[in-house]
């Protein structure tokens, strides 16, 4: 079988991670009871966690907008467009619920007192980062809870204008 080559195509995926995903995760297998046990193979798992929308991501994008030249961006509208039917309505309707929800929640959390420990989510606190005395308890709690809220609020679609 011969296939003409084309510059934009490699014979195999270029990153080792993609190669490993291919040969360790795909392909025929032999039943474990006949197979010789191989140390080292089982330890490699492919990490493919789904992104969870988080306040961190939002802040990163907000920061990025400050680096954006809006005038140039609007002039760039004439660039090849893959998406023709993107309407203003389409862009805003889906995001509004999550958006106002997060903003409300976060304002709420940041306004809280220092020693309000009642509904601290220790599960997230403990897993994500060890408690560090240098950081204010209130702001850390604010982050983790607002992330929870962002996720929970996402499907809601309350029609509140910003």
């Amino acid at each position: 079988m011969t296939v003409q080559s084309y510059a934009g195509r490699a014979p195999r995926p270029s990153s080792l991670a993609d190669v490993l995903e291919l040969v360790l995760d795909k392909g025929l297998v032999i039943d474990a009871y006949v197979r010789v046990s191989l140390v080292g193979i089982e330890l490699l798992t492919i990490d493919a966690r789904i992104v969870v929308a988080s306040v961190d991501t939002y802040l990163r994008f907000a920061e990025a907008t400050n680096r954006l030249d809006i005038q140039a961006a609007s002039n760039a509208e004439g660039l090849p467009q893959l998406i023709e039917d993107m309407t203003e309505k389409g862009a805003s309707s889906k995001t509004r619920g999550a958006l106002s929800g997060v903003a409300e929640e976060v304002s709420g959390w940041f306004g809280r007192g220092e020693d309000d420990d009642e509904d601290e989510d220790s599960r997230h606190d403990g897993e994500r980062r060890p408690r560090r005395p240098a950081r204010s308890g209130a702001s850390r709690r604010g982050r983790d809870n607002s992330r929870e809220n962002a996720r929970r609020r996402r499907p809601s679609n309350e029609d509140e204008e910003e």
Binding site: R9, R12, P13, L22, L28, V39, R49, V55, E104, V106
Partner: protein, 232 residues
């Protein structure tokens, strides 16, 4: 101990490149089929060199006939154990070889550039553009989060639409498509099953998509390779 690479038809001429640990490969009979194997002395580790040797053997085999690839790291005690392990699967392997009919696997992974995607998402949405212009100078944390959420969602929406367009276009050339699990910033990660003679058609289709997405995504397009994603 035998390292197992792939199932081929009995008339396959064999593979002359060396396999894992630099050892020569041979074809062990399995009913009216054959299995490409090589001897190995000690345990297999997923080292780059050996993983690549596994791939190289299969790519070589594919050039001289159809092959059903095994996952890296499959090993059995000897040829008897190989037959015990696989003889029940012979009808399935034969059916699979017939069904694949010489088709090859191509992979396409499209990863977005967040900043360029943001630029594109804002450029095509006048309302969002006004909102960003008005709101980006605020230092109030709730405003920052609200703005970022609006932008992040617009970017995700653009990504979803791009992903759908990519899939729709590729379906016109591929006989089957298997998506890999979603991952951060990945617009599309797909295994495509195509007839070798349609690969040039796929090449130009991928090139079109690459130009359409411009700077907002990078393409990692590879193949032809044995149909890893279509044999399990």
């Amino acid at each position: 101990m035998l390292c197992v690479y792939g199932v081929v038809r009995a008339d396959h001429p064999g593979v002359t490149t060396s396999g894992v640990h630099g050892r020569p490969t041979r074809i062990a009979p399995l009913g009216d089929l054959g299995v490409i194997v090589s001897d190995v002395d000690h345990e297999l580790l997923a080292r780059r060199r050996d993983v690549e040797a596994h791939l190289t053997v299969l790519e070589f085999a594919m050039k001289h006939g159809d092959v059903l690839p095994f996952r890296f790291g499959m090993a059995v005690a000897d040829e008897d154990a190989l037959v015990v392990a696989l003889e029940e699967s012979v009808p399935r392997f034969r059916a699979l070889l017939d069904a694949l009919g010489g088709r090859v696997q191509m992979t396409l992974k499209v990863v977005r550039d967040d900043f360029e995607s943001m630029r594109a998402a804002i450029a095509r949405d006048a309302r969002l553009r006004r909102y960003v212009e008005r709101g980006r100078d605020s230092t109030v944390i709730a405003d920052r989060i609200a703005l970022g959420a609006q932008v992040a969602n617009a970017v995700d929406e653009l990504t979803e639409r791009d992903a759908q367009v990519i899939l729709d276009r590729l379906e016109t050339v591929a006989d089957a498509i298997r998506p890999n699990p979603p991952a951060p910033s990945v617009v599309a990660s797909l295994a495509l099953l195509v007839r070798p003679q349609r690969v040039p058609e796929l090449d130009s289709l991928v090139e079109d998509l690459r130009q359409q997405l411009g700077t907002r995504a990078t393409f990692n397009y590879a193949g032809p390779m044995p149909p890893y994603s279509f044999v399990a």
